[in-house]
């Protein structure tokens, strides 16, 4: 389903959390779809099952995943996600990047074009869905 970079400095459980989040946000994993079991993912990726368990727990805390006892882990519906928090974080990141780009000569018009392009892209993803 996905590959991990074992050489990366990023902890494996963080990589797992980020990858699964990405799949959920891009709707490759659909709401209420079951995530692979800890056992299966462990042998597929050759990753310690405790690490995978921990990643699933973290995803549950962040609202991306819900678990049913004895059945496994499922993708949460997008509406249920705490997207406000995420948006706030993203806005801060964007602000930092824009500040740097302005220093290097980015204009308001450039920014508008960028926004437009990104908007098109996002819509494109939805159409593929």
């Amino acid at each position: 389903m996905f590959q991990l970079d074992v050489r990366s400095r990023k902890p494996i459980y963080e990589q797992l959390v980020d990858k699964i989040k990405e799949l959920i946000i891009h709707r490759i994993l659909k709401p209420d779809e079951q995530l692979p079991s800890v056992r299966m993912l462990s042998s597929q990726l050759t990753v310690n099952p405790n690490t995978i368990q921990r990643a699933y727990r973290e995803l549950e805390n962040q609202g991306y995943v819900y678990s049913i006892k004895g059945k496994g882990n499922f993708v949460a519906a997008i509406e249920q996600m705490t997207s406000d928090q995420k948006l706030l974080e993203l806005k801060q990141d964007i602000k930092k990047l824009i500040a740097e780009a302005i220093y290097l000569g980015l204009t308001k018009e450039d920014l508008y074009v960028l926004f437009h392009e990104a908007h098109q892209q996002a819509k494109g993803v939805k159409r593929d869905d």
């Binding site: 400095r9 990023k10 902890p11 494996i12 050759t46 310690n48 690490t51």
Partner: protein, 300 residues
């Protein structure tokens, strides 16, 4: 659950293990790292119930382990120097193991045959070093232990086999909550295997933590300040393990969460700022440096 309570062990005058306390939860893979001669093997032999500590207690599932058959039936120890009976074939060794370990599973042994692909009628002492290791793993996993103690286990296995053995261990951990203790100084090997690590030096455990916590708890920071005179003030606010200066850029190893460090550093006017998680190898080296076990730059 393995509970080691303030144990010490002396060999003649040499204090190999010094008032050491350690806990390993059921279903966890615990990596024991350490400098050469730190006392890793001494500790493992005591946990396996082979040697008796001079002081302190070791309990596995709330029972003392030394010479206790009821406990040792469920513990398999693979030492760094393997021992097989002279002239014994793989099948004969399996028969011996079956006598000692009541949990022995013939089905498992047959299943694993396809994973290891070694003829059971071959004599073990004629096999290569790596193949002997494979036989040791094969026998150990077929004995279905609750606890598996491995001393420098990955030595001599080729990359494919390594991956296979890892996968087998993970399966047993996931399916029947096998507890594993592994000693090694090959940090890369441990990094993607364990969930907990303990770093040992001079008979003591220096740090013991969940591996992902260690990684998110120590960071490498590259930093240049607009006003260098503020640097001392900044450094005083951080918990610094290591500090190096290259021109106007400082390289720091800092303990603390990313958030904390960001907050402190952004309160200054920085020209350059980079924060990276550390590899286990770097953590090991810097922690060791902290206790005076340094890599000296030796030129001959």
């Amino acid at each position: 659950m393995i509970r080691v309570q303030s144990i010490s062990k002396k060999y003649d005058k040499h204090l190999a293990v010094n008032d050491l306390t350690l806990q390993v939860k059921k279903g966890s893979i615990y990596g024991l790292l350490g400098s050469n001669g730190a006392g890793k093997t001494s500790l493992l032999k005591m946990i396996a119930g082979i040697n008796r500590p001079d002081k302190g207690t070791i309990e596995i599932n709330d029972l003392p382990v030394f010479e206790n058959v009821a406990v040792k039936e469920k513990v398999v120890f693979i030492p760094d120097l393997l021992y097989f009976f002279p002239q014994a074939t793989v099948a004969q060794m399996a028969a011996h193991y079956k006598e000692y370990y009541p949990g022995w599973s013939k089905d498992r042994f047959d299943q694993l045959k396809s994973a290891f692909n070694i003829d059971v009628n071959r004599k073990v002492h004629r096999l290569s070093k790596g193949m002997k290791r494979q036989v040791a793993f094969w026998l150990a996993l077929s004995a279905m232990p609750d606890i598996l103690i491995l001393d420098e286990p990955i030595d001599g296995l080729d990359p494919v086999m390594r991956q296979k053995v890892k996968n087998l261990l993970f399966q047993d951990v996931a399916e029947r909550e096998l507890t594993v203790i592994i000693s090694s100084h090959n940090l890369r090997e441990i990094e993607d295997l364990c969930d907990h690590v303990g770093i040992m030096h001079n008979g003591k455990i220096l740090i013991e933590k969940e591996i992902d916590d260690i990684k998110s708890d120590t960071h490498k920071v590259q930093l240049a300040l607009a006003d260098p005179t503020h640097e001392e003030h900044l450094l005083n606010q951080l918990n610094i393990l290591h500090h190096e200066k290259r021109g106007s850029v400082s390289l720091l190893i800092v303990r603390g969460s990313e958030e904390q460090i960001n907050k402190i550093i952004y309160s200054f006017n920085v020209l350059l700022y980079d924060l990276l998680p550390l590899t286990l190898e770097e953590i090991f080296i810097y922690e060791m440096e902290d206790v005076g076990y340094e890599i000296e730059k030796i030129l001959l």
